[in-house]
């Protein structure tokens, strides 16, 4: 049992903190810390600054930009980014398709796609969910039918986050309708500029347009853009969704927001109930962070730790609870969400953020799915 980081890990942490707080574009950090929506250019610039410093895809194979770090170091890297208000590398690129291609794709595909994926020269979208395939992803119906050297794709994807910026979309398609539903799925890489691909934005409850529907009408996709085996898509999807042990819970960001909220609370902190709320949230967050450290400190190179489900479940609950606290601190001023006013910026963002973050317990495997995983995998129920 050892409380402190090793001197090497401590130095690593300080090196990360120094980079993120002194060598990263300040205006992007300011925007993140103020809770503003980032522009596409800011997200791209952010990832390119990280990539140039070797900090965008440290968990990838070293020949494609990986750093060979321990899980604990990756945790520290991830945590320091969040604490500094540095946007995390685009998850679709860095955490989803990148590791999938590195694991399942041919050398040719890796060489073609991984460098621009790391540098966000290609913006990837995720084509998984469909109107009738949410948590029950395997019942997806978008079809891909082989025709000569192409697959012809038809169907509809939904909840495609930031799909309006997407260049390519990694898409789960049904390639065999005759077998058990999991056994007939494949993954295709689809250029979103192809004829027949249409992106339609969905307005969300916070007033934003973060997600989209993506329609495919007779889209001809070259067959060599199949990832891995034909009908092997379900294995890839499970790999992608269960790939993470590190950064599962947004701990650094939530800590930053909670600390900020305490600053902003002002005289409201004289109220014992408000103080108690801060204590409860700080304690839960501390327990969560320590649990995340337990997971990363003892899961080198292995399978995803089953406790990752706990981190996702509790991490999103606390994140949502903190956004709820901020909204309550804003009080009546929170109503002024619609534009410039005398109300401080944080209070104007409070309600949209609170509403937006309801998504956190739904995406990436809803919290009910996480409970299901805990019950089955860990408790044997």
């Amino acid at each position: 049992m050892q409380l402190e980081l090793s001197p090497e890990d401590q130095a690593f942490r300080e090196e990360m903190r120094e980079f993120f707080t002194t060598k990263f574009p300040q205006e992007i950090r300011d925007a993140v810390i103020a809770g503003r929506e980032l522009t596409k250019d800011q997200i791209v610039e952010s990832q390119q600054v990280l990539n140039a410093a070797g900090l965008a895809v440290p968990h990838w194979p070293e020949e494609y930009g990986g750093r060979g770090w321990s899980d604990l170091q990756r945790h520290l890297w991830n945590d320091e980014m969040q604490a500094a208000g540095v946007p995390l590398p685009l998850a679709f690129n860095a955490n989803m398709i990148g590791p999938v291609l590195a694991h399942f794709a041919s050398k040719e595909i890796k060489d073609r796609f991984l460098p621009p994926t790391a540098n966000l020269d290609i913006w990837w979208s995720q084509g998984f969910s469909e109107p009738d395939a949410g948590s029950d992803l395997a019942s997806l119906r978008t079809t891909a039918v082989r025709d000569g050297d192409d697959f012809v794709v038809n169907g509809q994807k939904t909840w495609t986050t930031l799909g309006q910026y997407g260049d390519w979309i990694f898409t789960l398609v049904r390639t065999d309708p005759e077998v058990k539903k999991q056994a007939g799925i494949s993954m295709l890489l689809i250029d979103m500029t192809l004829p027949g691909v249409e992106v339609r934005p969905i307005e969300l409850i916070d007033g934003g347009f973060e997600v989209n529907e993506v329609w495919f009408t007779d889209v001809r996709v070259p067959a060599d853009l199949l990832v891995g085996e034909l009908n092997g898509g379900w294995t890839i999807a499970k790999f992608l969704l269960g790939n993470e042990r590190v950064g599962v819970a947004p701990i650094g960001t939530t800590k930053r927001v909670l600390a900020q909220a305490k600053q902003l609370a002002g005289r409201q902190l004289e109220d014992p109930f408000t103080r108690a709320r801060f204590v409860e949230l700080e304690n839960e967050l501390l327990a969560l962070e320590l649990t995340a450290l337990r997971v990363v400190a003892h899961s080198e190179g292995g399978e995803p730790h089953p406790a990752s489900s706990l981190l996702k479940l509790k991490g999103t609950e606390i994140q949502q609870a903190v956004s709820e606290l901020v909204l309550d601190l804003a009080g009546p001023a929170g109503l002024a969400s619609g534009g410039d006013s005398g109300v401080p910026e944080w209070a104007r963002h409070a309600a949209p953020t609170y509403l937006n973050l309801r998504k956190a317990s739904i995406y990436g495997g809803s919290n009910e799915i996480q409970r299901q995983i805990i019950a089955k995998t860990i408790l044997g129920l």
């Binding site: 049992m1 304690n283 501390l286 408790l379 129920l381």
Partner: protein
């Protein structure tokens, strides 16, 4: 940062578990032990002494083993798993801890030597009418006449106060502050009764009772009492973790075997999801208790006090959740004294209220909420 036990610590855990499994692996044996006075097994107490567990926290010069908080936590955890009724927490950790921290070399050798050898049971007589876990005494007062000291007033409830061979008594000093005294209880008026967790406690009336000051006569020991209470909170946390672990395992095992409507209960998601939430509560509390144990090891009383309050808050929340749900998920069987799980809930309640429940810790922590921007478990001291 390391949350694992070394080989010796694992050996200690295995040996302790082995001993206790033999003693109380069959829940019926525990029932028998608590049914008769003194409410625990003198034989098991002797075995704990033989294994060196009763002297674990004390210096070798005082007849102890000189082990650290991690080792004491391991023993407490194992005691918690089987609801061992032996008064380890109150006799060794609290009363013994006070003698170790405040006693003169002669007092330490005499009292702790006998305690470590299993020859004597100590009790900490501290709670008074209306007291709520403060490190001070008011109802029992100390009077000095030359070198002679006497105590007057009532202590209640005193855990294992009737069986104890030596009492460590807190009392208000004539010139202010709280002192500690060793009292030979022979001839004292002690009214014993069983407690709801299977233990025993007593009302002890002092009436100009002769007492020996622990350490320097007349010294205010409030800070020492507070520190030992903090250690006790963390060790009570370990005991609670052990109890929660088994309460959850008993529950999941019941869910997979008990049939209703022709199927086992784990068929019902309404139940398995609640078990998953119990697991989440347990793991988060476990992380905080392990962390607090490591903080305790740094020897900084202020940091330990903060960590103890945080761990106790988390454990209080978790223990209520796990204890209550363990009963509910079982149904009627858990209401019976014959079945183990209800006793786990009872013991968890007793531990929760031994040194300050969640609300108490919340108010302690809330009083200093603006002293830090946020919490960083990896910060260097």
């Amino acid at each position: 940062m390391d949350f694992t036990y070394d080989d010796e610590q694992e050996a200690l855990r295995d040996a302790t578990r082995g001993l206790l499994k033999k003693a109380y692996g069959d829940y019926e044996e525990r029932r028998k032990a608590v049914a008769e006075d003194p409410g625990f097994s003198e034989k098991v107490w002797g075995q704990l002494a033989e294994m060196g567990l009763l002297g674990l926290p004390f210096a070798e010069d005082d007849g102890g083993v000189g082990a650290g908080p991690v080792e004491i936590g391991i023993v407490a955890h194992e005691l918690g798993r089987v609801l061992a009724p032996e008064p380890y927490l109150t006799s060794v950790v609290l009363a013994g801890g006070l003698v170790s921290a405040a006693g003169t070399p002669e007092q330490r050798q005499e009292v702790l030597g006998a305690l470590s050898a299993g020859e004597s049971v100590l009790a900490f007589a501290h709670d008074e009418e209306g007291s709520r876990w403060a490190p001070t005494a008011t109802a029992v007062t100390a009077a000095q006449d030359g070198d002679a000291w006497t105590l007057s007033g009532v202590k209640e409830p005193v855990p294992h106060g009737a069986r104890a061979d030596v009492l460590v008594v807190s009392a208000a000093l004539p010139d202010g502050g709280t002192g500690l005294f060793l009292v030979d209880p022979t001839g004292l008026e002690r009214t014993a009764y069983p407690t709801y967790d299977g233990g025993r406690a007593a009302r002890i009336a002092f009436d100009a009772t002769a007492a020996t000051p622990l350490g320097t006569p007349g010294q205010d020991l409030e800070a020492t009492i507070a520190t030992i209470q903090d250690i006790g909170r963390i060790m009570a946390g370990h005991e609670a973790l052990g109890a929660m672990e088994v309460a959850l395992a008993t529950t999941t095992s019941y869910l997979t075997s008990r049939k209703q409507f022709g199927v086992t209960l784990n068929t019902f998601q309404a139940l398995t999801f609640r078990a998953a939430d119990m697991y989440v509560s347990l793991e988060l509390a476990s992380s905080l208790v392990q962390w607090a144990t490591m903080v305790l090891g740094t020897g900084d009383p202020a940091r330990a006090a903060d960590a103890a309050a945080r761990a106790a808050l988390q454990v209080s929340r978790a223990a209520r959740h796990v204890g209550q749900e363990a009963i509910q998920l079982h149904g009627g069987i858990a209401m019976t004294a014959e079945y183990s799980v209800g006793s786990y809930a009872a013991r968890l309640s007793a531990l929760d209220h031994l040194l300050g429940d969640g609300q108490h810790q919340l108010s302690v922590l809330a009083a200093r909420v603006e002293e830090h921007p946020g919490l960083d478990p990896l910060a260097t001291a």
